[in-house]
């Protein structure tokens, strides 16, 4: 089998706050292969965004990556000096964020912002970079690319802003595009268009996408592989088909049954009791045990490890011998 494009092993990112240590990511391991859509799914505070930022090494004080390694094409990018990392950011690994309104610089026009990365990474001339920017604007299906390139972000709609972000991020043909909730702030029909666009780009450029979301629908419809996170850890991972067909971890099961699909109308759907744990003082043992209907003594005392149950389906649960 081919070596994975990105292999994260035992990543730990902590934030040192006055009220305690916030263990946002506490031992996360995952692999992303070439040409794959990998979904990182979980609720608020599970650490999925921090994982992405850690991969991009965009963690600043008071946060710190305290352990683990991230192998990109076999190279541990956590050990790289900042100058080398800058060559990877934008060129090899790119990232788009949730709120395009906050990510675009309001004082430069769109064409300029899309040209920036190629000028820095490939040393293109301004005019060449501009031409490429206009082409990219067309590729992301924005009509009137010549005109749009000269537009400023505030005249664009939400969908167009996000497309501009995408154009910016793929301008250097990255191998891995991390998308952190790229469609959450958009209307549902626009969401469908953007996801469609991302998948199309991925196919054409053999790019991998790491999609971070809390929406299981998106995962089911676009993902190849998925990892479910809870309280800073990965609790289950595998192919989308396997995890959806046979979710092994009680949290995954609970989440899937929380969605009102497949229930008779106006009946009560399943839900997960309790609330999300605080990341500063998570429960001992298995972090999910206070909310788990199958919790045993072992769950309360010992943290389960992520083990493989055949065919690349991993789960961290004592029920399955974790």
């Amino acid at each position: 089998m081919d070596a994975p494009l990105l292999a994260v092993t035992n990543l730990k990112t902590y934030f040192y706050l006055s009220k305690g240590v916030l263990k946002a990511v506490d031992g996360v391991s995952l692999t992303i292969n070439e040409n794959e859509v990998f979904c990182l799914v979980g609720e608020t505070g599970c650490g999925k965004s921090v994982t992405a930022l850690s991969i991009m090494r965009l963690i600043f004080y008071p946060g710190k990556i305290v352990d683990g390694n991230i192998l990109y094409k076999g190279m541990d990018i956590l050990k790289l000096p900042e100058s080398e990392m800058r060559k990877i950011r934008g060129k090899e690994i790119a990232m788009i964020f949730q709120s395009p309104m906050k990510s675009l610089n309001p004082v430069f026009n769109v064409g300029y912002q899309i040209s920036e990365a190629p000028i820095v990474h490939f040393g293109l001339s301004h005019s060449d970079a501009w031409k490429q920017a206009v082409e990219l604007i067309e590729k992301v299906r924005i009509p009137d690319p010549d005109l749009r390139a000269k537009s400023y972000p505030h005249v664009l709609s939400g969908g167009m802003k996000q497309r501009s972000m995408i154009a910016m991020m793929i301008s250097c043909e990255p191998r891995l595009l991390i998308a952190d909730e790229p469609t959450t702030a958009l209307d549902v029909t626009v969401q469908a268009q953007i996801m469609d666009l991302l998948l199309d780009i991925r196919k054409k450029r053999s790019m991998s996408i790491m999609l971070i979301t809390h929406n299981f629908g998106l995962v089911a419809e676009t993902g190849d592989e998925v990892a479910v996170m809870y309280s800073g850890k990965v609790v289950e991972s595998g192919s989308v088909k396997d995890v959806f067909k046979e979710p092994l971890h009680p949290y995954t099961q609970g989440l899937l049954r929380c969605i009102p699909v497949g229930f008779e109308r106006k009946t009560e759907i399943d839900y997960i009791a309790g609330t999300l744990p605080s990341a500063i003082g998570p429960p001992l043992g298995c972090r999910f045990h206070p909310r788990c209907r199958y919790a045993t003594e072992k769950c309360r005392g010992q943290e389960p490890q992520l083990i493989s149950l055949g065919e690349n389906h991993l789960v961290a649960c004592h029920l399955h011998g974790g």
């Binding site: 934030f15 505070g45 965004s49 963690i59 004080y61 949730q98």
Partner: protein, 300 residues
Amino acid sequence: MKAMGVEETVPKEVERKSMFKLTKLKEFCLLLLHYKMSCIGLLVVIGITILATFAPIIAPKHFAKTDVPNKLQPPSLTYLFGTDVLGRDVFSRVVYGAQIALWVGLIVVLVQASIGITLGVMAGYFNGKLDKIISAFADIVWSFPPVVLALGIVMVLGPGITQVVIAIALTSWPTFTRVTRAKVQSMVNREFVLAARAVGESDLSIMLRYLLPNITSTNLVLATLTLPAAIISTTALSFLGFGAQPPTPDWGAMLSEGASQLVIAPWIATFPGIFIVITALGFNLLGDGLRDLLDPKLRV
């Protein structure tokens, strides 16, 4: 724009700080400096308040007690800040002056706030014509020079501290109106106000129970910052002769008296001057600290 299950990119607690690439040392120093400044401010304010409250005990002599044979003496052990033209103890006068300064400042701010906040809430809540009228009125008042109004009042009533207080208070309340109006406008269409209206709450009830409590922090900060301005404005008017009449130990009046003696007895004007600056600075620093402390937590 709708919001669906929005997740912060980074834990809420750290969002603000981690966006800047500060080293641990730098951040620590800045924080300490900031707190130090506000603490200094707090100490100054407490100090001046103690001076004002216990003036009769602290001041060795009564502020009006004259000692003409010892007039224009430089600072000494008996007269810590020296004596003025009539042999009065400058130190005692400065201490008693703190009472006046604080009182004046407080009353001015209270009057400013009452007028300003009331009008501000009405302008922000009712919008439309009322808003335009109030805002225009506030603009006109704001551009009216206090000295002119003071002159007018003094012509009718004669000089005095009260007259100065009235003049300053009546020309500077628009700051409170502007700030309050802006805050109220930002809140009036928020869901909790809509919910209150949906329940059937009256306009007055909404203004008192829902809007007012949410602007107290802003106004508190504004009050701490306008108090020194009030003190300075009143001392200025007193300096010009509109305010306190002798022998009232108003700092501004003392400045005026000492101005003519500046060459031969600089201590008469210098010490009140220093105290004016220290008091104003103290309140400003305290206000800054308060603002930073209250602002992020009470983001309405």
